[in-house]
Symmetry: none
Subunit: 380 residues, 2 copies
DNA sequence: AGACTATTTGAATCCGTTA
DNA sequence: CTAACGGATTCAAATAGTC
């Protein structure tokens, strides 16, 4: 099912020249087969809005590792994570970053995720290539694998680097959406999210399809923060397609590169069944609103209350749609769960947690029930 | 008040040669004046247990470029500036890391703290110099400065890199002490600590003495985790002496390097008034690995576990008889308490001390209880 | 059904000493 | 250098099994 679409291409030949617009064909919604550097060569220059890259970490693991209970840890021992030396890894990094930089729009941005094994080398290569680091973001895992031998600190986080094309380059940052998602507080550079498991983890015959599948909530926040609906997102290390699945949910265009056939197959099947959200749910808050006390947005992000779902009051007199950033919209009015509840009732204030309900297994249940579940799952 | 003390110096000239001990003079409790690379040259090789470094990273900010030696780089061309700035910074980093590596003991370790501006370059330089990264630790600030312009994520963390001298090198890690500090859970790689303020923040005439004074709690955890009392800690970028103040409190020796006279002055005054903890308070939880070994046979010999008695696992699925030499026999199989336990379970290994139990006053008790009694009775 | 317990598992540079 | 061996070492969440 090959699909191409005409998109606007922006080039910036010389610094003072106005960006020119021209029409090019992009392989939207496709997974390009083969090495990512080769695959990216088929993409015209200056056409991609955002790149999310999850390159091999070059873990350099030694022997086997047993848990205290005697079971064996399933190590990442795939060939694609083996490099002869730091120099080999640096060369690999420079090559794919070079192509990434070529195909990004002048106002595009790039995200790369890694661990201490590789992230310092990646960050250095990004700076050397001319990228301008905007933030390093720490993914704090709520349920990391322990250090079984008691030899170091529990490796409980991974690092993401977010960078623009240069010091003076513009970039997309949906500040208001992030603030709404974070309970009216500025979104910080440390994000607490669980690792990918449970129903979300792709499995085939009881075993995981990909050893390092990333959680959709991570990509959700990345895309919501730094892209707009309709933007083209490219992932050079597509794996089982988390980037594609979230892009589809959030109304973004996507392109993947992946050389492993079984990963491509699993990714296509997965993205096929992903449900895009309503357009109204994708609009992010534009105006300032009063501060809810608890981050309803985190529940939306984590899937406790899906974006696009409908909430009502107990007597079903009012209803509203949940948007991607955790705000509600009802007709022409929008706001936080508290603000919109108060506004619709003509009341001075409203506790949105008890006012709004959603259909659950036990019938209509207040949002507060979901909050309790979330608190139980995320509390330190 | 110059003070020198004789310490043990460990050198490892050639791989197969035994470390030699010799007496050298170290400027303990002193702040060396001048550039840190020059200052470290006066320290003998292989004499320092741990280095904590908080290098400057404002070398390419704000348009004005300062060389590490304090001179100004002329602004010429944007790209050239950036390249020159990174190259200059890398050269500076390589030079001070090289000296740091020379003066560290073979089993010493190094900590470096930084932000996204410099930490990737520092981490790459550390790996290239042969250091082996043990963890990257995220200091998550509980009260960071907001991003006033709303253009990025709130920069709410800094990164620390902890590394040993090489892949095979040993290092100090007080695992039990960290676990105790963290409410009996493994200490993670993300630490939540407030920034330095209040009474702790050094001020003179209402303004802060140092722009990036680190909180003592941060150094406290670093030193408690990776040094022992009496160890020598060196800080090449001493500033206002947080490292020295905490070292004094925790009964560690310290050496600082600082070229700014007003920082040295403030640091000396501060450290003078720091109160060292009682020796008893310095003791931390020790891991069992560091406890003296006890042969099970010694317990049999001493009558703590009579020869001929029966031991079982906790669920009484396996049982064995204790023989006079401290071996166990179960049916046709026999072996050490560990070997037989592993063999019976089909496990790769087994801790016989906690696996095997014997009938005691309080019901089934692990052999480890008898070991503790034996240790108490035989210790000096 | 529901409460409780047991099992499984996740990007991991994961032991130390002696022969 | 490798091999042997004593024995130290795990957290959160999802899932499966049991009462």
């Amino acid at each position: 099912m090959l699909k191409t679409r005409t998109v606007q291409r922006t080039t910036l030949i010389q610094p003072r020249e106005q960006p020119r617009q021209m029409s090019v064909e992009l392989p939207l919604g496709q997974i390009l087969d083969g090495d990512c550097v080769e695959a990216m060569r088929s993409i015209p220059s200056g056409t991609i809005d955002m790149i999310f890259a999850d390159p091999p970490y070059n873990l350099q693991l030694g022997g086997d590792l047993d848990r205290p209970d005697g079971s064996r840890v399933d190590a990442v021992d795939d060939d694609w994570d083996k490099f002869a030396s730091f120099a080999t890894y640096d060369d690999f990094t420079q090559r794919w970053l070079g192509e990434a930089r070529r195909i990004l729009k002048p106002n595009g941005s790039i995200w790369v995720i890694g661990s201490y094994h590789n992230i310092f080398r990646v960050g250095t290569a990004m700076q050397d290539a001319g990228f301008w680091i905007l933030n390093d973001v720490v993914w704090r895992k709520s349920n990391p694998m322990p250090n079984f031998k008691g030899t170091r600190f529990t490796n409980a986080h991974e690092t993401l680097i977010w960078a623009s094309m240069g010091e003076k380059a513009k970039y997309t940052f949906n500040y208001r959406a992030m603030k709404t998602l974070n309970d009216e507080l500025q979104m910080r550079s440390d994000w607490v999210l669980p690792i990918c498991g449970g129903q979300e983890r792709l499995k085939k015959g009881g075993t995981k399809v990909h050893p390092t599948q990333k959680p959709e909530a991570l990509l959700y926040r990345v895309m919501l923060a730094t892209t707009n609906p309709g933007d083209v997102v490219l992932d050079p290390f597509f794996g089982t397609g988390t980037t594609g699945a979230v892009a589809k949910r959030l109304g973004r265009q996507w392109i993947g590169c992946e050389r492993e056939g079984n990963y491509r197959e699993a990714a296509l099947e997965r993205i096929e069944s992903a449900l895009p959200l309503d357009e109204s749910a994708l609009k992010v808050m534009q105006s300032k609103r009063s501060a809810p006390r608890v981050a309803f947005g985190a529940l939306v992000e984590a899937g406790y209350v899906p974006a696009g779902s409908t909430v009502t009051d107990k007597k079903r007199r009012f209803s509203a749609t949940v948007r991607a950033d955790g705000s509600l919209v009802s007709g022409k009015e929008s706001g936080s769960i508290h603000g919109l509840g108060a506004s619709l009732q003509g009341a001075p204030s409203c506790n949105g947690w008890t006012f709004w309900h959603m259909e659950g297994e036990k019938g209509l249940q207040p949002l507060d029930d979901a909050r309790q579940l979330y608190l139980l799952a995320t509390e330190d």
